[in-house]
Symmetry: C2
Subunit: 364 residues, 2 copies
């Protein structure tokens, strides 16, 4: 991918409430952000947390004179609330935001979730753009139109489907990201490969050292592949009725581990890594996942770690599992692998089976 | 319309985020509400204000054992805020609401706006049902999918398009509505006729005394006609890019008058009546609206009054006019009449022209 002609992927949106998303991929896109960001009026409301300051500065320089508001967001998970939406609305409305203005969100997953929901609600829906600055947001959060805030009863319980008009995937945007976060975020990119693209999984595993060393070309190949998987799945099932659930691979137990650690102990990607590890056990038993495939995945995950030891006590984990959005009386819908690159949904795996897997899961 | 086989109107929604709305019309529907309300799981979250207690009781009796939460809403305009959405979310999520449960909102326009937005956001979108108990909500607010809350900068500035699955138009639901509110709400029903259905406008004007006396048959005819107009306009333009703007007839100045009276002095329908009165002046001059048509409309409006005298001071009104969501540098988009039953949008009427009309408007 040259610096001159970036690659792009179209995620078709269908009708007007779900516009098309154009995903641009390339190193250095941020320094030409004005070419890719979409605003019907040409004016923008910029939303970014302090942690994304250097990426935000690069975008700011390209939008000089076109920012009607420049809003600092607290992007800790604990601040991902409905009142954060109110705060953004205060700033944008005082600045005189109009229906044809657009939001640009620069940051990690919390930023795109919150800013995307603010865009969905302001004047009943502004266009928005996502500039992810973490590997996790590049691989997952910024693509697909899910926006939302948390509630004491659980994560992302209030939200909307509101796809961004443009996503800028620029690995240089993550240049100041701490190494632990950088690696944890890549779990989501590999996840995309494991559920739907065996060839990508193979190539990315082979390039793992270069990826972890942040080599631009290798990173772009993985992120573009993951974006292509996600775009293909989301466009076939925008509202998560069926196939989109495959993207939750590793997330059923992962969410429970994250919640049991009060969202501080484990990064999201780390919890998903543990969740995948447990799902491999169940996939071996229920879907005939070959041992060599499971071992290969575990090896990649081990290299993206180390991860803090999670809560394994079934008495602690069980309530978090059974309050999952996908839980029913018969058990919890599980995404399992038949092979590296081929996933399917098994409708009702009993909580006990997840808890057994959690007790013994290991990357060794 | 017999009590056995209620009439219904289908408002097609298109893609999944905008489902079809089925509008049921008939006296006594509330006492068979279980037949018409839609919930994928069969379970409901009921939301209603104290003012709609008797209608809510009738629905409650039909949903016995199927309510997972019964939430009281403060439906004053001043309580139509993002934190009201948070309050509903607290109650619904503590009750264990699931994605296949549905909301039923029983009340006036504030109730359907707030409960509809809560439904839009809960778990990224629950199905919902509207049971309007005011003539204004029956004629307008409950149909068409606009939901929202206010912000200090203006009304309905945060919201979503989230159409209800079913609307129950039952004139007996308004039986305890004070007469002033009953008449003010009918302004919106006549508005629908004036913008798009000359025949309905003629028939309803002829039946005006029976309508104001709350005669079921006459009321149902007007409400069904208004619902048909609104459904037809909304289905041709769900996101208000073009034709849907016609529904704002009387609302440009109306919103300014309402805001200048701090939403206490005038009912919404009363402000719209004054706004229509001013729009008739401008329509005469710019669109050749025949004098006899203007006189006929004014006569109906006079009979739906009396209305409190509005603020007419241009220095007070102007800021409220120019902050209109539809304002641009060249003026404010105006909905004007060419004849009773035929409206069009004139893109930029200068604020001064509205202020001149406001200074002299009269129902005489």
């Amino acid at each position: 991918v040259s610096r001159e002609e970036p690659e792009s992927i179209l995620l078709p949106g269908g009708s007007e409430p779900s516009p098309d998303t154009r995903i641009w991929i390339g190193a250095g896109l941020l320094d030409r952000a004005d070419r890719f960001l979409v605003s019907p009026s040409g004016r923008f409301v910029l939303i970014s947390p302090p942690s994304a300051a250097s990426a935000a500065d690069r975008v700011r320089r390209r939008l000089e004179g076109r920012l009607i508001a420049d809003i600092a967001l607290d992007d800790r998970e604990s601040s991902k609330t409905l009142s954060a939406i109110g705060g953004i609305a205060d700033r944008a409305l005082s600045a005189g935001v109009r229906r044809d203005d657009a939001v640009v969100a620069i940051g990690g997953g919390v930023t795109s979730d919150v800013a995307g929901l603010a865009a969905a609600l302001l004047l009943r829906g502004l266009a928005w753009n996502a500039v992810p600055t973490t590997t996790g947001a590049m691989a997952d959060a910024a693509i697909g139109g899910k926006t939302g805030v948390d509630h004491p009863a659980g994560k992302n319980l209030l939200g909307a489907f509101h796809p961004p008009r443009a996503v800028l995937l620029d690995p240089t945007a993550a240049s100041t990201l701490p190494d632990r976060d950088f690696r944890a975020g890549l779990v989501e990119a590999f996840k995309a490969a494991w559920i739907a693209d065996a060839d990508l999984a193979r190539r990315a595993a082979a390039a793992l050292e270069r990826i972890v060393a942040r080599e631009e070309g290798a990173l772009i190949e993985l992120l573009a592949g993951a974006a292509r998987v996600k775009a293909s799945i989301v466009s076939s099932d925008p509202r998560e009725g069926g196939r989109r659930r495959l993207l939750n691979f590793g997330h059923t137990l992962g969410h429970a581990l994250e919640a049991a650690g009060e969202y501080r102990h484990l990064r999201h990607g780390e919890a998903v890594a543990w969740g995948i590890c447990a799902a491999l056990e169940i996939s071996r038993r229920r879907c005939g996942l070959p041992r060599s495939d499971a071992d290969g995945i575990r090896e990649v995950l081990r290299r993206l770690g180390p991860y803090p030891e999670p809560v394994r006590d079934p008495r602690v984990l069980e309530p978090f599992l059974t309050r999952d959005k996908k839980a029913t009386a018969g058990g919890i819908a599980a995404v399992l692998l038949e092979a590296a690159g081929r996933a399917r949904v098994v409708e009702a795996v009993p909580a006990a089976e997840w808890l057994d897997a959690a007790a013994i899961m290991s990357f060794k």
